[in-house]
């Protein structure tokens, strides 16, 4: 992944530094050269000026020597002075010749011309004439000659030469001032240049660091977010330096981490789901176990109860038969014992029958054969049968139905009605009224069996349809029964798709209600079906 950087930050930095050095060196060299040139130029000018000043001084001295020697000659008539004047005149001639190429301004050129003219005139005309006048002693002529303009010219030229010398000195000063100023300008320019180079370099370095710092900041933030487990969206830097490589590596890393995290999350979810499934299965198993335990408990309880229920009539049968066998009894007692034995044997038979019946119903082996029945007719038959043994009770049958046909198992429904009506008789006092009421709504037929008996305590109602459940009241024990009747009724009514309910006010009587579904419209009521 990490390869050579085409534009490495180090190289960029090195480049900036080298560029800075190069520019600084170039600047220094240029400043040095320009300074040298300035100095050289100044020196040359200064030298030329000095020469010119020398020449002018030479001109001045030779001119003055010439003129003053001549004056001395005239005043003292000394031949040596004259000779001196001639020598100086030659000097002056040489000086003027030297001065000629140096005369640059028009004033200097004019001065040169005037000097040359004056020397020529002075040496060729004034001096020879004056020599003659001195030799002749003609002072008047000399005086006249000088007064004719020689003195004026001499004075004028001396003034001019002195002015020239002063002008030259001023020029030298000016030149020096100019040199100084140029040097100063050069220094200032150099300083500005150095500052400029430094500023540019600093700017470049700053830009370079900014180009590093910003992406680094972004990467840091992204890394922190990634570490905190957040989703990271980071764009890859299209750069060819270390940061580009770092960015590529980081994006690759982030992508790998996020992919792994997704994998982990998916895996984790799967695990959680598996665990939930396991827990669900465990709970189901636990539920199943509890149900089995409960069933086992119920079974033990049932076995215990059944054995108890069987032993009680057996105890009577066994006891009375033994008494009859071993004791000599009167005829009346014998008859009483036999009746009791018969009764208990019947009770035992009923118990076994009911128990087997209920077992069959509960195990699903119970089959109803449905046909078209009118419950009213069945109830009339039941009342007829029951009233034979219940002479002290009154029966009432009220029919308020609009529908009279049901799909039902005639025999089983008779079993239910017999059970409910004979119960009502058993639990009602003598002279009590047993009222059966039939009605229907759009979907169901409702049959109520009402007695004026003891009623049932509210706490007992939920247990009423359980096997072998008898209300904890000694008055009821005398009445007998197997304790299975209502459980069987419930099974039969439920097999018909109906419901059996009870409402009771303790001490006033009970109402058992059977709700049976009416056949759907158009359905053949005599259509025979089977249901469990």
């Amino acid at each position: 992944m990490i390869t050579g950087f085409r534009k490495s930050i180090r190289k960029q930095f090195l480049f900036i530094m080298l560029a800075m050095l190069f520019l600084l060196m170039m600047g220094a060299a240029a400043a040095y050269l320009i300074g040298e040139q300035l100095t050289e130029g100044y020196k040359e000018k200064r030298k030329a000026m000095n020469e010119k000043v020398q020449t002018v001084r030479f001109v001045e001295s030779s001119f003055k020597n010439t003129v003053f020697s001549m004056r001395g000659y005239i005043a003292f008539e000394n031949e040596k002075e004259l000779q001196q004047a001639y020598d100086s005149s030659r000097d002056l001639q040489r000086a003027i010749r030297e001065f000629e190429p140096l005369a640059s301004s028009s004033r200097e050129k004019k001065l040169f011309t005037e000097l040359a003219d004056f020397r020529r005139l002075y040496m060729n005309h004034v001096v020879p004439k004056a020599t003659v006048f001195v030799k002749d002693g003609d002072h008047e002529s000399i005086h006249q000659l000088w007064a004719s303009g020689v003195t004026d010219s001499v004075n004028f030229l001396i003034k001019e030469i002195e002015a020239e010398r002063a002008g030259l000195n001023e020029s030298i000063d000016l030149q020096y001032q100019q040199f100084l100023e140029q040097t100063k300008k050069l220094n200032i320019f150099t300083a500005i240049y150095v500052v400029f180079v430094l500023v540019v370099t600093s700017g470049a370095v700053w830009v370079l660091f900014r180009r590093i710092g910003h992406p680094l900041q972004e990467l840091t933030t992204a890394a922190e977010k990634l570490a905190a487990g957040h989703e990271v969206q980071i764009r890859q830097l299209k750069r060819r330096d270390e940061l580009g490589v770092l960015s590529t590596a980081f994006v690759h890393m982030a992508r790998t981490i996020q992919e792994r995290e997704h994998d982990l999350t998916a895996h984790n979810e799967e695990l959680v789901m598996q665990q939930e499934e396991l827990e669900r299965m465990l709970a189901e198993t636990e539920k199943m176990k509890n149900r089995l335990l409960e069933l086992d408990r119920l079974k033990s309880e049932l076995v215990s109860t059944v054995s108890h229920e069987l032993r009680t009539p057996l105890a009577s049968i066994l006891g009375f038969t033994e008494l009859m066998m071993k004791r000599s009894l009167g005829e009346e007692k014998q008859k009483k014992y036999l009746t009791t034995i018969h009764q208990e044997a019947l009770r035992l038979t009923n118990l076994v029958n009911d128990f087997l019946d209920l077992q069959r119903m509960e195990s699903g082996a119970f089959i109803c054969s449905f046909e078209r029945v009118d419950p009213k007719l069945l109830i009339e038959r039941v009342i007829e049968a029951v009233s034979h043994t219940a002479h002290h009770h009154h029966f009432q049958l009220v029919d308020e139905r609009s529908q009279k046909w049901l799909n039902g198992d005639e025999e089983r429904l008779i079993q239910v009605f017999t059970n409910l009506i004979s119960n009502a008789v058993k639990f009602s006092p003598k002279g009590g009224m047993i009222a059966v009421h039939l009605e229907n709504d759009a979907h169901n037929m409702i049959i109520n069996v009402k007695d004026e008996g003891l009623g049932i305590p509210a706490a007992e109602i939920p247990h009423l349809f359980k096997k072998f459940h008898r209300i904890d009241n000694s008055d009821r024990r005398k009445i007998g029964g197997t304790g299975l009747g209502l459980a069987i009724c419930k099974e039969i009514i439920e097999a018909h798709g109906g419901e059996i309910m009870i409402s009771s006010e303790y001490g006033k009587g009970s109402v058992f209600s059977i709700v049976l579904p009416l056949p759907a419209e158009g359905q053949q009521a005599d259509h025979k079906t089977e249901a469990n």
Partner: protein, 119 residues
């Protein structure tokens, strides 16, 4: 002997009363547990015959309550013959547990035995 018989089954009470009266015992009937306690407190008895399963108050509860004040002989008559039921009755204070169904003459023998012990 003065005997109190507590059983909710009328037929069984009749059997026991007929069996024991013939032997010269005096019997009083109670139709359930509560009745048994009331009868016991009113009369003076040498022996209690108590059924296990009775409405309002079970035989075990009757025995426990009687044992709080009396050392009278108690026989429990029971259709529950599992070992744990017998243990429960003995713990409550029954002198003997007599399983249903039973032979009336075995019951007579048992009562004679208990009578002998008492004398």
């Amino acid at each position: 002997m003065n005997i109190l018989i507590a059983d909710d089954e009328e037929v069984l009470r009749m059997l026991i009363v007929d069996t024991l009266e013939e032997e010269g015992h005096v019997l009083t009937e109670a139709v359930d547990g509560k009745d048994a306690i009331e009868q016991f407190q009113e009369g003076k008895f040498d022996l209690l015959l108590v059924d296990y399963m009775m409405p309002r108050m079970t035989g075990i509860e009757v025995i426990r309550q009687v044992r709080e004040t009396s050392k009278v002989k108690i026989v429990m008559l029971t259709a529950k013959t599992q070992e744990k039921d017998v243990e429960e009755a003995k713990e409550a204070g029954a002198d003997f547990v007599f399983p249903k169904p039973f032979s009336p003459f075995k019951l007579i023998e048992l009562i004679e035995e208990l009578d002998g012990e008492q004398k």
